[in-house]
Subunit: 309 residues, 2 copies
């Protein structure tokens, strides 16, 4: 195999390629003795491609919760085994046959970067299931499968992008096809800073749309102050926030409290995301919605409380 003979990389180049900061690269060298780059005529670090390759692997595995000190000490072969291992092991295969096929087909199309096939596959699924079941029975679980496959090294970051992109497209299509509702409560949707997953937001918007509610979406990562300002100006009744596992629990709760303090009492906060399933202490004035299935009940609760007539 004619491996392209790329030149040795500067520390900036390695930062870009691997996502590891310059500071991190230097301190690993100091602490663990790896990477151990060459030096150019002026004493600046030059990383050979094989070290860059190993760093890229380490960077991926770091994202799965493995620890830096152990990874850098691991020989390259063992890293490769871990990164690509478990490749063909359907250990926890699908429970229900017909659901399994939807999931597996999606993964298969992703594996070959088949955008066209993926688009038509998802579109058919949406038409067959209808928007609500598409979101709750399919999309929510598919997200888990894809996230898992990525963390096992079976999907690259660009394949995950491909999935996200197409799924968002289908959801927007589905939402756009519904004639805008006018039922209460009016909801403003967004996420807090540090939370950049938009998919959850769109799934929530879909579930609200099928209840006849029209949402104002502010996109992702809106600072608390901006949220309260926009909510006031728009006169919405509820602020809906979506959470993945990306934010730390403590930080998430603190930001929620901040926002609660800034918003007028009469505006409710609905916080959505699987993470709330294991929540201990609730916050007054905030409703936690661990699964999208609960949304219809929350909505009817709200309507009962605010419009008893």
């Amino acid at each position: 195999m004619p491996t392209p003979q790329l030149p040795d990389a500067s520390i900036s180049a390695v930062e870009r390629e691997t996502g590891l900061s310059k500071d991190t690269l230097r301190i690993w060298e100091r602490r663990y003795g790896f990477p151990l780059p060459l030096r150019d005529a002026h004493g600046e670090r030059l990383y050979p491609q094989d070290q860059v390759h190993k760093l890229r692997l380490i960077s991926r595995l770091l994202g799965r919760g493995l620890r830096a000190g152990q990874l850098v000490a691991t020989p390259l072969e063992a890293l490769i085994a871990r990164a690509s291992g478990d490749e063909d092991k359907p250990a926890h295969a699908a429970a229900r046959p017909e659901d399994g096929e939807l999931f597996d087909t999606t993964l298969r199309l992703l594996a070959t970067y088949d955008e066209t096939g993926l688009r038509s596959h998802l579109s058919l699924a949406l038409q067959r299931l209808g928007l609500q079941r598409f979101v709750i029975d399919f999309a929510a679980r598919m997200n888990l499968r894809v996230g898992e496959a990525w963390s096992l090294g079976q999907l690259s970051i660009s394949q995950e992008h491909l999935y996200t992109e197409q799924m968002q497209h289908q959801l927007r299509q589905g939402i756009g096809a519904i004639y805008p509702g006018v039922r209460h409560p009016s909801v403003m949707l967004t996420t807090l800073p540090g939370e950049e997953h938009q998919l959850g937001l769109l799934m929530a918007q879909a579930c609200l749309a099928v209840e006849g509610i029209r949402c104002v979406s502010l996109g992702v990562q809106t600072p608390a102050w901006d949220i309260s300002e926009a909510a006031r100006q728009q006169g919405v009744e509820v602020v809906g926030l979506s959470f993945s596992e990306a934010l730390r629990q403590k930080a998430a709760l603190e930001m929620l409290k901040d926002l609660r303090a800034q918003l007028p009492q009469h505006i409710e906060i609905w916080a959505g995301g699987a993470r709330w399933a294991r929540l201990r202490r609730r916050i007054p004035g905030v409703r936690f919605i661990a699964r999208l299935e609960e949304l219809p009940r929350v909505i009817s609760d709200y309507r009962a409380e605010h419009d008893p007539a």
Copy 2:
């Protein structure tokens, strides 16, 4: 009006917001005495919002060839005058008088967070202009107006989100309405790490769609290695990259060179973005497309070269 009391920003936050590296921020402080951040209890820098604001303006002007030493010494008012003053004139001048109204109405709707109004306004504009003119004559210029208003503090971050969200929605609608084409060249679209603006990507996709080209989109921030891998697997003929002003010029060029070295010779790179208008040295094997108007010519050039029959 109660001024928003945003918290002071850490040096990482400022790096993210302005695109100026930590090293640069520190050495400006040492050399020029600006920025002059506060310090927290542990001696770490805390940048007040007004300094961040000025840094953002400076960063913009730096991109136009102005010099750092002079800019940091310039008082804020003069910077604002320059930033809003001698921006490229044709960008502001509406092609036709009634188009100017399109811009002003959009800004007015944004000012009041009027999502419904904005959506219908943009939708009407799309229907009236058609996809191609909507992108080239309206969206491209509107983006400049909104970006400028944001850097001048006239729009909040959430208002910019609102704009981006709605504009993306319209573009997706427009693209989705076109029956998928099959003409050459086949294009894979994405952005490099650090470039998270998706709008440019969608505008490019729209322009390609009206030429009968179907794109594979990998979303934003794809590492160079993933791009070359996906391009090979998909067998595309062109990799299209979108650039805003977010990345520093030097970093952008270096990443482009890296990618060029990794991709097979026969796959072209098309680099899009207004920043290339003031490019000095070109890179062999990369076509720079400063304005979307140039795209049709580039496409016909490509077809002439690769299919002379």
